[in-house]
């Protein structure tokens, strides 16, 4: 890996963490209405999966994956405006948090019907295949979403047609308050991959190297026509399901265990062992990301709320007006 790449990866990790922290703080300041879903602690997954994607690959992120937006190239200013529900957000204020995607960067908006974006990702991958385009679709979902029928229907189809799609399951052990043992009867949901005719792989979601390695194999499979991969990344969210969830269903001990596996700190250990001047890197990165997030927030705060009548816009591409 080149130095540039290693620094870049560190930058993404730090940017996401900074953004996540800021969003959480804004929420506590009452500046964000509606649900806020923190992905803090899961940065390595989105960075590892998205950093090697091409501009015209499509991602279908989870409500928790604002990091995916950033790594895929979305403008942090517009992302912040989106989160604040302003007119300069991707949804122009029409839907919340990450439900508005950024089509110019091939990012699809999340929905609350978890897993419902998987059939969409599969349809997109089907188009790539029949048009013989060298593009892949990355469908993110939580391990809780894996229980939904849409996930089964999508994977089944993708397996039949060996579609260029990677199914990335962010298993953070809790779907809201529901632990894995109440969500499914297996240890690794990736075991279902072979049930659909494709490879299932488990990786350590807090270890950026592990995620990158598994992702590369999955992307190679997709691009070469071998078909999908069920890529399960074991990770952990530091905050509750939403910012309003105190997550008392988890133990302090468990949280601490995972905090000790923090993906950013691990990458810092790696950089140190690679003989980078870690203090300098940390400092300059900190300043860089802070500035980006400050600018994003300033932009978002200056952006107006949409006006009432805008609620009637963007329903149709070819509207039929009453005369």
């Amino acid at each position: 890996m080149t130095e540039q790449k290693e620094r870049e990866l560190y930058f993404w990790l730090r940017l996401i963490r900074e953004f996540e922290n800021r969003v959480s703080a804004l929420d506590k300041q009452g500046k964000i209405q509606g649900g806020v879903y923190s992905g803090k602690g899961q940065e390595a997954v989105v960075v590892g999966v998205c950093h090697e994607l091409k501009a015209d690959d499509w991602i279908f992120p989870l409500h928790r994956d604002l990091g995916a937006f950033l790594v895929k190239g979305a403008d942090p200013k517009r992302l912040m405006a989106q989160i604040l529900g302003k007119r300069d957000g991707f949804a122009k204020g029409k839907d919340s948090f990450l439900h508005g995607g950024d089509f110019s960067h091939c990012i699809f908006g999340a929905t609350s019907m978890l897993g419902s974006t998987l059939p969409v990702a599969v349809g997109t991958a089907y188009k790539f295949k029949i048009k013989k385009e060298d593009r892949v679709a990355i469908a993110f979902f939580g391990e809780g979403a894996s229980s939904r029928g849409d996930v089964h229907e999508a994977m089944n189809f993708a397996g039949i047609y060996k579609l260029p799609v990677v199914f990335v399951c962010e298993n953070n052990f809790y779907a809201y308050s529901t632990p894995n043992e109440l969500q499914f009867a297996v240890e690794d949901v990736a075991d279902r991959g072979p049930g659909y005719g494709f490879k299932g792989e488990v990786c350590s979601g807090n270890d950026l190297h592990s995620v990158m390695k598994a992702t590369k194999k999955a992307l190679d499979r997709a691009r070469s026509g071998e078909g999908p991969t069920y890529l399960e990344c074991k990770t952990y969210r530091y905050h509750g399901h939403s910012e309003h969830d105190r997550a008392t269903y988890r133990s302090e001990e468990e949280l601490i265990t995972w905090e000790s596996r923090d993906p950013i700190e691990r990458w810092e250990v790696y950089l140190e062992k690679r003989k980078y001047d870690l203090a300098a890197v940390k400092a300059e990165t900190a300043e860089r990301v802070r500035k980006i997030v400050d600018d994003a927030l300033a932009f978002a705060e200056a952006s107006p709320l949409p006006e009432g009548p805008e609620a009637m816009e963007d329903l149709h591409a070819t509207p039929i007006t009453e005369e």
């Binding site: 991707f90 908006g109 969409v120 349809g123 188009k127 999508a154 039949i160 149709h316 070819t318």
Partner: protein, 324 residues
């Protein structure tokens, strides 16, 4: 040329798929078999497996993948083998397709057509007889069409495929092979959002769509000497053609709404409410509806006869309203 209603639908798909290589078809048994009713006959042989996809039994996937194709510039036709099964894809329609453009602030559109055989009168029982338009009538972002003639079936399907928004296309299975019509040999389209004034009249307006259009037209003909009936075939249910409805109500002052879907919560209620609201001073009598009884589409013939609107029920309702 003379075609049946289902042949007209088949022709529309053939023509649009030949015209635009981005049009493709997904559904159960649509390819090799040509469809459970043969609506998609010949398409697989002509356009191949990549464009005519025999999917697994997975309505949610069919619609969701349709959305995924649509955002990539394709124009998928998504068949529900019986429109009753649209309930299995309901979430993808109302929460994915219908919201796509809106929640992305207008960045993209969703040009899908979800089509399938609807309607009763064929002893289909509960799951082969439904008329689900009311569910989708309530969802912004969608368009809903229901042709009653072979001419409209072809023209509306072509328009729906070319339309950039998600269209629910309800083809009435009772009409599939029962109607034969002469349609033009040259290409034509029927625009969405425009009702058809099937017959002009002065005494009473009947607003209807789908299979009952034919019973209404027969009633109008049979009663020609007695009552001068105006017949509006809505053709597009969402959005409604209020210009045509308004003109007719202002003229006759009496409105009968006929639809095969159930009465309570059927779209007739919305039509009646809005007429009462906006055209109150044009009304010379109560707004009346003839619709299926508020029960499930039972199987036995005797039950079906009881439930569904028919010639007699329509005629009686017309007479009674005309006499008011």
């Amino acid at each position: 040329m003379q075609v049946t209603y289902i042949q007209a639908i088949n022709q529309a798909m053939h023509e649009e798929m030949a015209r635009d290589e981005n049009v493709l078809l997904l559904g159960e048994d649509v390819g090799v078999l040509g469809g459970a009713f043969k609506a998609t006959e010949g398409l697989h042989a002509k356009f191949g497996s990549e464009r005519v996809v025999d999917t697994p039994i997975a309505e949610s996937l069919i619609v969701g993948a349709g959305v995924g194709l649509a955002i990539q510039g394709m124009r998928p036709i998504l068949e529900m083998q019986f429109i009753d099964f649209i309930s299995c894809g309901f979430d993808q329609i109302v929460n994915m397709a219908a919201t796509l453009r809106y929640r992305h602030g207008g960045q993209a559109s969703c040009p899908i057509v979800v089509r399938g055989p609807c309607g009763a009168g064929v002893h289909g029982g509960i799951y082969h007889s439904q008329n689900p338009e009311a569910w989708f009538f309530h969802v912004p972002g969608l368009k809903v069409v229901a042709p009653a003639t072979a001419y409209d079936a072809k023209g509306l399907l072509k328009s729906a495929i070319r339309d950039d928004d998600p269209v629910i296309y309800l083809e009435h299975k009772f009409l599939y092979r029962r109607i034969k019509e002469d349609i033009p040999d040259t290409e034509y389209l029927v625009p969405l959002g425009k009702a058809a004034l099937r017959k002009e009249g002065r005494d009473l307006s009947v607003i209807t769509y789908g299979s009952p259009v034919h019973a209404v037209m027969k009633a109008a003909k049979d009663m020609a000497g007695e009552i001068d009936i105006e017949v509006i075939d809505l053709r597009t249910i969402l959005p409604l053609d209020w210009k045509t409805i308004r003109a007719s109500v202002a003229k006759t002052g009496k409105v009968l709404i006929v639809h095969e879907a159930r009465r309570t919560g059927g779209i007739g209620g919305e039509v009646a409410a809005r007429i009462a609201e906006e055209l109150f001073e044009s009304l010379d009598g109560p707004i009346v509806r003839v619709a299926s009884k508020d029960t499930h589409n039972a199987f036995a013939t005797s039950l079906e006869d009881y439930i569904l609107p028919n010639q007699e029920k329509i005629t009686e309702a017309i007479r009674k309203l005309a006499a008011y």
